[in-house]
């Protein structure tokens, strides 16, 4: 399992933490103590490290039975720290392989320098850099999610949403209370797809931690994604407001670069087909790209088709150009991809330019449009 993963960063407390447990396992308690002291020196507010230190000290005076041997300890707090230890070690030991990418990042726009992918099951946030269209791993951080986990459905359910979002703003430390630490980046929950599926709520942010806290338990927020302040600060440098995608998943699906390439090419081809069928003025061929479940500009497929057939008669030529395409797959079991692009439409009697957002869903093996509108 210890294959070469040199490209992945060893920043953060995980390497030291893993060492501490490694030494405990080997019964080298003196070394474990040295390393936990180092850990506390680097991260003085890291509660998990203090708990381990407590156990190591207590072990010198009497046999200890469990993780966190505190008399009258609040059991939930011990359990939280235990969960944090497991989450951190787990993510550290099972770092993604370098030749694999999250399936969701099918196509980043040229101007999207970074993308963020969250794995709620692993309590981990991964940062990818856009390297000429290929996502390249940059860093990963421990995160806290909603008290009741992921898959947000409604306001106040204390869950973190799962889906394709982007950063919509930036709130500075000065504007917020200490609770949010270094600051906050609101994200675009609920998105078009959420709204269509009846999901509601608001105020889902990525944010920091209070000044007396290094990190919070894996499940502790009201639905926000919470990072350690130093991690938040590092992340801030890469954030482009209104642009940086934030994709939150239950459990990231990883694809080899080959598989990823195949998936994106297949969808790209389909989008290109849609574009050229539109230009062909063969309205039925064009409409064959739309799903029975289509909702576009408030119209269903029948209404949409009727309108398209109606305007088709007056066209002697159509030119459609699509630029700046982004394609982000929605985490979950449906083959659903959010596609955005700049559309330049020219025809004999109408011309317009717009930003467009479509959702493509694979139905019986074919990609079809289930949602279309201004992006």
């Amino acid at each position: 399992m210890a294959s070469a993963q040199a490209r992945y960063t060893d920043a953060g407390p995980e390497p030291l933490l893993a060492n501490v447990f490694e030494q405990i396992k080997k019964n080298r308690l003196d070394l474990a103590m040295q390393q936990v002291d180092q850990l506390i020196q680097s991260y003085p507010k890291f509660r998990l490290a203090h708990l381990i230190k407590g156990d190591l000290l207590l072990a010198r005076s009497r046999p200890i039975q469990a993780f966190g041997n505190v008399r009258n300890a609040p059991a939930d707090k011990i359990a939280d720290l235990r969960e944090e230890a497991i989450a951190r070690l787990h993510a550290y030991r099972e770092k993604p392989q370098t030749n694999y990418v999250p399936r969701y990042l099918l196509q980043m726009r040229n101007d999207q320098k970074y993308a963020i992918v969250v794995d709620t099951k692993k309590s981990r946030l991964y940062v990818y850099q856009n390297e000429k269209g290929t996502p390249r791993f940059v860093a990963d951080y421990y995160i806290t999610q909603g008290k009741l986990g992921a898959d947000k459905v409604r306001e106040g359910d204390k869950k973190t949403p799962v889906g394709v979002y982007h950063v919509t703003g930036s709130l500075s430390r000065e504007k917020l209370g200490d609770f949010y630490g270094s600051g906050a980046f609101p994200i675009s929950y609920p998105n078009e797809w959420d709204k269509r599926n009846g999901r509601n709520g608001h105020g889902i942010w990525l944010h920091g931690t209070p000044s007396n806290t290094f990190s919070r338990p894996p499940k502790a927020s009201d639905g926000c994604v919470v990072l350690a302040n130093q991690d938040f600060d590092a992340l801030s440098k890469n954030m482009q407001i209104g642009l940086t995608p934030v994709i939150i998943s239950n459990s990231i699906e990883w694809l080899s670069l080959d598989d990823w390439q195949a998936e994106r090419e297949a969808l790209k081809k389909q989008i290109e087909q849609w574009r050229s069928d539109w230009e062909s003025r063969d309205v039925e061929r064009y409409l064959s790209h739309y799903s029975k479940k289509l909702v576009a500009d408030g119209q269903n497929l029948d209404q949409w088709s009727a309108r398209k057939r109606q305007v088709a008669g007056g066209k002697t030529w159509i030119k459609v150009a699509t630029g700046n395409i982004s394609m982000f797959r929605n985490p979950g079991k449906d083959d659903l991809v959010e596609v955005t692009f700049d559309q330049d439409y020219q025809s004999n009697n109408l011309a317009n330019q717009m930003k467009k957002r479509q959702y493509w869903l694979k139905e019986s093996g074919r990609w079809k449009i289930v949602s279309e509108g201004a992006g």
Binding site: M1, F21, E22, I24, K25, K26, N27, L29, R47, L48, H50, L51, I52, K53, G54, D55, L56, L57, L58, A59, R60, S61, R62, P63, I64, Q65, A66, F67, G68, N69, V70, R71, N72, A73, P74, K77, L81, R82, I86, L89, H90, R93, P96, Q97, Y100, K121, N212, N250, S251, E253, W254, L255, S256, D259, A262, G332, K333, S364, G365, R366
Partner: protein, 347 residues
């Protein structure tokens, strides 16, 4: 201070006679006995007065200075007591008792690092000194408690009545000290510390056993699994995979689902029923399905021959989709049958 644990090893008189026959002349023994009596009776000022008188004639005398330190401690004048005991450790570095008593005072002031250092010195001068060992244990427990307070953001100081550390009341000669080395607490503690490893409850195969306290440390790091190349298991698993894929390809949903363990972890964490109906829907889609695998790699989980991580390349072809992907299964053997507990795409 009244409830302090006293460490009185030998009857006072004989102890003292024995102890300092070589340091002090017999003539002074009576005075020291008197002082001790006063101290025991709680007549601190008289005891102190008498000690000062005694020391004016013998300013270097260890026994007198030691008593002075005790009296000052009893009188709740810790700073002066610290000075007395510290000087004693400088003049008589081979004596463990002043170090021990210094530690007790430091501990009262919550200066645990200093207390610990003093006790370590006491033990260095006399490695089997039981009181110092016990006190050091208490110091560690208090330091642990401080760490726990920081970890849990609580204040346990009031919640738990802490043991008082033991002051040593007498100076003894080396020969009169308890000879038997105390069985090391550390050994016992060490054997148990494995218990604090946070054993994962899920998908960390190598660590999924709750750590047994006394388990011998594994010779290899426990997080590594041993690959098993050997025949039987590999064959069994390969067979199970073939059966699973055959049921899949034949669209035998019941047979297919039968290859999943009762506690199979559904990919999105959804309910088993939901997952099953979803699988059934997909498998029952029109058109043929063909599933096969190659490059099978089976890794038995450490210390188990009923749980394995199974990796292979899966080729899947249906009417609408043809893919090859790397699959990872965690399989468990139940009633002689290998079943799938986890299934994921990827590395």
């Amino acid at each position: 201070m009244s409830d302090r644990r006293f460490f009185l090893a030998a009857p006072l008189a004989s102890g003292l006679m024995l102890a300092f026959a070589f340091l002090i002349g017999p003539a002074y023994a009576d005075t020291l006995q008197d002082i001790n009596k006063l101290l025991k009776q709680g007549q601190h000022s008289q005891a102190l007065e008498k000690t000062e008188q005694y020391l004016s004639g013998k300013p270097k005398d260890a026994q007198g200075r030691f008593l002075k330190g005790l009296i000052l401690t009893e009188m709740n004048r810790p700073q002066e007591a610290i000075v007395v005991f510290t000087k004693l450790t400088e003049d008589y570095p081979e004596l463990p008792e002043p170090y021990n008593n210094l530690a007790v005072i430091y501990a009262q002031q919550k200066q645990y690092d200093k207390a610990k250092q003093s006790l370590e010195m006491a033990i260095r001068t006399h490695p089997s000194y039981a009181t110092a060992h016990e006190n050091l244990g208490d110091i560690y427990a208090r330091m642990a408690s401080q760490s726990y307070d920081k970890a849990l953001q609580i204040d346990s100081a009031n919640a738990s009545a802490q043991n008082k550390l033991a002051m040593i009341r007498e100076l003894m000669t080396a020969s009169s000290r308890p000879a038997a080395a105390k069985p090391s607490l550390l050994a016992a503690a060490k054997a148990q510390v494995a218990a604090i490893l946070p054993a994962s409850k899920e998908d960390k195969p190598a660590e999924s056993k709750p750590a047994t306290p006394v388990a011998a440390p594994a010779p290899t790091p426990a997080s590594e699994s041993k690959p098993v190349v050997g025949g039987e298991t590999n064959g069994e698993i390969s067979k199970a995979l073939e059966g699973w894929m055959a049921a899949w390809s034949k669209k035998n949903v019941k047979g297919y689902l039968g290859y999943y363990a009762k506690d199979f972890q559904t990919p999105g964490g959804e309910s088993r029923a939901h997952w099953e109906s979803d699988r059934a829907k997909r498998i029952n889609k029109p058109g043929t399905i063909q599933v096969s695998f190659e490059n099978l790699k089976v890794t038995l989980d450490n210390g188990s021959n009923a749980r394995a991580t199974v990796k292979f390349r899966q080729h899947y072809r249906s009417a609408s989709l043809k893919t090859s992907s790397n699959k990872v299964l965690v399989m468990v053997k139940r009633d002689g049958k290998w079943q799938i507990q986890q299934e994921r795409v990827g590395k």
